[in-house]
């Protein structure tokens, strides 16, 4: 019976080839545009460290003076920590692991004569960084807390940079010159690049290149290396001269908390710490401004998805909505025009359910064809997004789950579009229409 219905549906669609093609095109465009944008949003809001992210938290303190003058282009200084606060949180050691960090760009002086000096992006961090985020090593290790203390000149490279500088020979134990200082290579990590780069500062390229080197934060501060990102000062003289000053925020801080009890305890600890600082006169604002963000909560707070992308997403959904309305109206009119035929079939014994299935199949065919077309259009859409120069562009591709999602959306859309017309068709009374024949 099903085969027969499919035959009937194909025949009916073939009778109006232009209209059928246009219906398929409309729904295909709607689904294609929607899936393109859903995929882009999906890759931009995905979990950067699956399995580990649930236990990572970001403390947030409010060290600003009671009255603070905002500048239109500046980011919120509270999104970073000051050096004294970060060091205090590190010292308290309330989480299983914690690390303070900041981004930096340094000029690399290769020993190979065939390479010109070049700039690379990396991270200044404290020793727990690697264990906290689970950064995998190819060779060697990170540094120890003692190295942090002693401001040792050691560096960890990622595989790309190590290979570029030293070829296939082991990099461990070699010396690399970054800026004006020689560092000893003690570890090589894989090309570890969480997407988005959740721990980076607000102006950073969250979907761009990964960190290529890591060196102790204390070493960087002692050597007065340049810090990337927002360094916001609110001291009396405006710009901060000394990064270790308590009125300049520039440090990112992450802590690992394994149980809900520890999370609550840490939250309380932040409030208590703020109260203590307020009592000391360093903080001026309410201690309850202190917060603790989960990793995904922090990404929402950081709002990494540009407004344009969100707008494109809603536009695509709006297009799909109008296309669906269009298909429903057209199928309805088409089915009702065949009322006499339905009457005859009903009079000859077809049940309502049979009619419903017959017309349901016809709309499903339109939907499936639209879905297949939509899948193709979505690939073209994603390709065109990959051509954009934005940092998120190269991530725009479908993973298997999005592929299944597209097919599911197409089926849901077509079933929804077909439901009303098929239901209306199966309610055509058998006798009334026969009289007019």
């Amino acid at each position: 019976m099903l085969g027969y219905y499919i035959d009937l549906a194909v025949g009916s669609l073939k009778r109006t080839p232009v209209l059928t093609a246009l219906m398929v095109l409309a729904i295909g465009l709607g689904i294609g545009a929607s899936m393109t944008m859903i995929t882009v949003l999906h890759v931009m809001t995905q979990d950067p460290l699956p399995g580990r992210s649930a236990h990572l938290y970001r403390p947030y303190l409010d060290p600003l003076p009671a009255v603070f003058r905002t500048v239109p282009i500046a980011a919120d200084p509270r999104d970073n920590l000051t050096w004294p606060d970060a060091m205090a949180l590190l010292k308290e050691h309330r989480g299983a692991r914690q690390a303070a960090m900041a981004g930096g760009s340094l000029l690399v002086w290769p020993q190979r004569t065939d390479l010109q000096p070049f700039y690379v992006d990396g991270r200044y961090a404290t020793s727990d960084f690697f264990a906290l985020f689970g950064v995998p090593f190819v060779a060697g290790n990170g540094w120890s807390a003692e190295d942090d203390e002693a401001r040792t000149h050691v560096v960890v490279l990622n595989e790309t940079l190590a290979r570029k500088l030293f070829g296939n020979v082991g990099a461990i134990g070699r010396t690399v010159r970054l800026g004006d200082i020689d560092y000893r290579v003690i570890g090589v990590t894989t090309n570890w690049e969480p997407k988005p780069l959740f721990y980076a500062d607000a102006p950073a390229n969250h979907f761009g290149d990964a960190d290529q080197f890591f060196l102790p934060l204390s070493t960087a501060v002692a050597a007065k290396l340049q810090v990337n990102g927002n360094v916001s000062g609110w001291g009396s003289d405006g710009a901060p001269n000394d990064l270790t000053d308590g009125s300049a925020s520039w440090i990112q801080f992450w802590v690992q908390l394994d149980t809900p009890a520890k999370v609550n305890a840490y939250r309380q600890f932040l409030v208590d710490y703020s109260a203590e600082q307020k009592a000391l006169g360093r903080f001026q604002r309410p201690a309850t401004n202190a917060r603790l963000y989960s990793l995904m909560g922090w990404l929402r707070h950081a709002n990494l998805v540009p407004n344009d992308v969100r707008m494109q997403f809603w536009l695509a959904l709006g297009f799909l909505g109008v296309s669906m309305l269009n298909i429903v109206a057209l199928l309805l009119a088409k089915f009702l025009r065949r009322s006499p035929e339905i009457s005859v079939r009903r009079a000859m014994g077809a049940r309502k359910r049979d009619i419903f299935v017959q017309f349901g199949i016809e709309s499903a065919l339109v939907g499936v064809a639209g879905g297949v077309l939509g899948l193709g259009i979505a690939q073209i859409g994603l390709w065109s997004i990959r051509q954009r120069p934005d940092d998120y562009a190269r991530l725009a591709a479908m993973d298997p789950s999005m592929l299944i999602g597209t097919v599911a959306l197409a089926i849901v859309a077509s079933v929804l579009a077909g439901l009303l017309p098929a239901w209306r068709a199966c309610r055509v009374p058998p006798a009334l229409q026969l009289k007019t024949l």
Binding site: L22, A33, D308, A316, V322, N326, R337, D390
Partner: protein, 411 residues
Amino acid sequence: MEIRPIFATLRKHKLTATLLTLQVAFTCAIVCNVAFMIAHRVQRVSMPTGIAENELSVVPVSGIGKDDNPWARHESDLAALRQISGVESVAAVSYSLPLNRNVSMYGVCPSKAALDRAMQAMSMEKGGCVQPSVFDGSPALLKTLGLDLVAGRDFHVDEYVEGQKNVAVAIISRALARRLYPGESPLGKTMYVGNHIVRVIGVVRMLLSPTLLGQGTDYYTMIWPQLPDAAGVSYVMRSATQDRRRVLDAARKVLLKADPSRIINPKRMRTYSQIRATFFQRDTTMISLLLASALGLLFVTALGITGLANFWVQQRTRTIGIRRAIGATRADILRYFQTENFLIVTFGVVLGVLLAIGLNLLLMKHYELPRLPLWYLPVGAAALWLLGQLAVLAPAMRASQVQPVVATRSV
């Protein structure tokens, strides 16, 4: 023309007519807002910068290692660049240029009183002060950029300072002059930059900020006679439009010859057209996407109207035949379908106008979009009426061709 029979028919096709009305409504709401967004973006990407964009190209250079006297090095670079054939003029800037996103802003007050008010209120805006973007640059800057000096004079050689030191004089944009000293001549006036005093000696007609904040302050700019003295510097060269690419390549060779160890990224050597295109790349992408979706929506809606009218004409062939047989003219039939369409689209447009306003309020709340000017609504409505009439024309013509004799036939 009798409207009642049309209503009677539509009531029989209540569901289908409602769906089409809804489709028209949503299309109207979205297209009105999309058209407004397009206009908004087009206005943004066509903002003039006030400089001779078509004749400019820029090479950013970063020196490596410590240099004792960077300005002396920049000066010799400038001399070398000037020798390139086709280069009419060349200047060095630290980093800021219109639309290159490297901005530095300073709070500036027109008077001491205003400064005190601003300090009191802890807000630049409240005291009558502003935060213009500041440009620096070597002596030939005005000539190189092609800035139009409308009052006052260019800097004297002895007014230049090296690096980020305090300056005594400044040239400001006309927009800033009008904001700081409304109705007065700005020449000779003193501006307060913090506690430091700067005298206005010239006014340029227009100079756009390196970045756009969209708060009406984008043309508030000024030039300080500061010579760039950092390791990194950008050289701006003016040449004939068609020579720009060649000049850029020649400049790279000249600069590397003077010092092979410095870093010149070929990707960052750009003509001003490229700088502008890069700055507005997201906007141009958005414009084409908005345009495509608006056209797509209108197309789908037109398709819906034509398709539906087609079905109705086929369904009513016999009725049309009867009407023709009892005296209706072809024009009557044509007008019948046109009126029917007009009614449906009217319902849709009325609903659509309300939806458009609602959608605009939503966009204003979440995307900082300005209010939709009301005249977009009648224009959008008229466009949909026209679209509806065009879409229904073919089926209605077909209906009017139905012969009266059909009435006598059995279907």
